[in-house]
């Protein structure tokens, strides 16, 4: 029974931590740390799922937690590490449009914006303290922060991590809609496929961000535009 009282607090703490990890994803410059943060974020989602199991007794959430552990805490990070080793890059120092401090400020604004917006729309239906409301705010904020990461990070590999974190945001939101998770898992599987595809394409020769890779090719006169009418 204590668990029942602890669980909401537990979930809240985890949600806040998810946001913090999102911020970290925006600002970290070491690729290794990025992957670790992502791992940590996914782990937090597992914890949230467990908390929800206690609270709402949906056993299917256990399945979700297990799948998350397998894919996100272990599988994908391992895969990314593999690629990282191949391309011999440890640091991601290049940003476009915004430097990390600015991005962090912006993400605070984003959270505020999402909070205010959702509060206005959802206040009639949910108490401000309801988990669904919190989940939606934090989930959408995380998605937006992930998008911001995709936008400002120039290396493709960091972009991928940004994308993955967006997905975590969707999952975080989805966890609170108790009947959905089964589909959410499907989503993950699909996006895993995308990821595999992405990485396999990228290993064709990518070792830096997409735009740079083009210019580098040009530098070595390797670029053979297929030209023609296209």
């Amino acid at each position: 029974m204590i668990l029942n009282d602890v669980a909401p607090v537990w979930i809240r703490i985890c949600l806040i931590l998810v946001l913090v990890s999102g911020g970290f994803l925006l600002s970290s410059r070491s690729l290794k740390n990025l992957v670790r943060t992502y791992q940590f974020q996914s782990f937090l989602l597992v914890l949230i799922a467990l908390g929800l199991v206690v609270l709402e007794e949906h056993t299917i959430l256990l399945l979700v937690a297990a799948l998350t552990v397998v894919s996100k805490v272990w599988g994908i990070p391992a895969c990314i590490r593999l690629i990282q080793e191949r391309i011999h890059i440890q640091q991601d120092l290049k940003f476009s449009y915004l430097r990390p401090p600015g991005a962090l400020m912006l993400s605070i604004l984003i959270i505020l914006l999402v909070y205010i917006t959702f509060a206005q729309i959802l206040e009639k239906l949910y108490a401000a303290s309801s988990l669904f409301f919190l989940g939606s705010v934090i989930g959408v904020s995380l998605v937006l922060m992930g998008l911001l990461a995709v936008c400002i990070r120039r290396m493709a590999i960091s972009k991928v991590i940004g994308y993955l974190s967006m997905e975590n945001g969707v999952l975080a939101f989805g966890l609170f809609v108790t009947e959905l998770p089964f589909f959410i898992e499907f989503v993950i599987v699909i996006d895993l496929i995308i990821l595999v595809l992405l990485t396999s394409i990228m290993t064709v020769g990518i070792d830096s961000s997409i735009e740079e890779y083009k210019s580098r090719l040009e530098e070595f006169h390797l670029l053979s535009e297929e030209g023609g009418i296209a």
Partner: protein, 489 residues
Amino acid sequence: MIAVLYPVVAMVILLLQLLLRTHRSLSLLGVIHPVISLIITLYFIVSPGIWDDSPFFLIDHMSLFVMLTTSIIFAAAALYAVGYIDGLVRSGDLEKRSLRIFYFGFSFLLAATTMAIFTPNIALFWICAELTTVLSAVLIAILALRATIDASLKYIFICSTSMLFSFIGIIFLFEAVRNKTGVGSLLWTEIVDEAAGLDSGMVFIAFVFFFIGFAAKSGIVPFHTWLPLAHAKAPSAVSAVLSGAILNIGMYGILRMTGIMKETGVFGQVSVLLIVFAMITISVACLSMLRQKKLKTLIAFSSIENMGFILLGIGIGSPVALFWALFHMLSHSCIKAGLFFSAGILHRQYKVPTRTGEDEIGDLLLLQPFAAVTVMAGCAALIGMPLFPLFLSKVGILLAAAAISVWIPAIVLLLFACAGVALLRFYLPVMAVRFPAGEGPVPYTAPLSMKVPIVLLLLLSIMIGTVMIPGEEAFLAAAVADLGFGVQL
């Protein structure tokens, strides 16, 4: 249970494609699959009595209509691919081992598209739509050139990130339904039934988020950025499918969602939102067209323009406008696919890469009279000349728009004029370029299988542009009614 044939056929074809080895058999399977789909679809269309027999499929006028468009385009593209891919392989552009990936991907793409159209579940629909992104990305990158991989990566990044928002939208919708009835639902039909009393705030959030993803899928500005790259870099058979079928999936999603919105209290806002996006899309696309130097990029921008126009029809939301929006969808697919096919022939003729990256077309009427004429006809069709169907939908949608505001048709027409000028401004100088004697490329003779689909599609579009096929009007009207937009025309 005839609908089960779709997945069954797909399975069989996919399996066979894994097993069979020869190029010929692969391409044959590639043609058979869409043709069978087309036949099944036609069978469904003529026998409305059996629609309800298939429990796991959402079969109504709307989905059948989109499926019809899709299978026509796929069938034409598969036929075209027979000659086209063969040429690519012979010239060494496409590696032999990629062949299987191509055909497998192609059939799988059709299967995914079919499932997306017929699934009754929104989340499944979303997943299938995502699958089509992945599969078409594979097809875009099939030539394994840097530029194509680059384009395909951008496609995936933009589409997938945007599609995640759609999923948030779906979750909101689910929650909204649950809020009303206590039990959440993801079935299109059930949501439409429950739509009337849903909380307007929630529903609007759901719509906006849902729209983001599917707008990206159908190339609505500002989510369109992947489209000119992907469509231009892809092999022409794939470009045609992308423009003619995959973009429609995005529109299909928006259509169904707008149908749900019609029942709720927020349709006014939705309508404004859609019209604003449509106008932005048309403006950006038409103006961008003026500056394009490559044929396929130009055609790709024109796809954006037309998607914007369909969106305008949806945004207006009157039955007439929706009727013509659907009509526009079908006709645009046919014309655009034909145009990409013709561009493909030109591409095969003038594939010599140049340092400048500019097109180097010359002796057009001497070397490729067929392609030259069909490109011209396609351009005329895109400009919206009478006898071609786009003219009709232009009249229909703009008439509905004029009832809302005079400015909409005025601006749209001016922009269309820009687009028309852009097409010809590109094409006229190209027509007249002459190579110095003896320096021109070797004439490329397009095989019959590449020419037939072009002619067929052009004929088809002229047919739907000049006569109402018996039952067509009623069918389209019923499709509009399926969406929840009343029946009066």
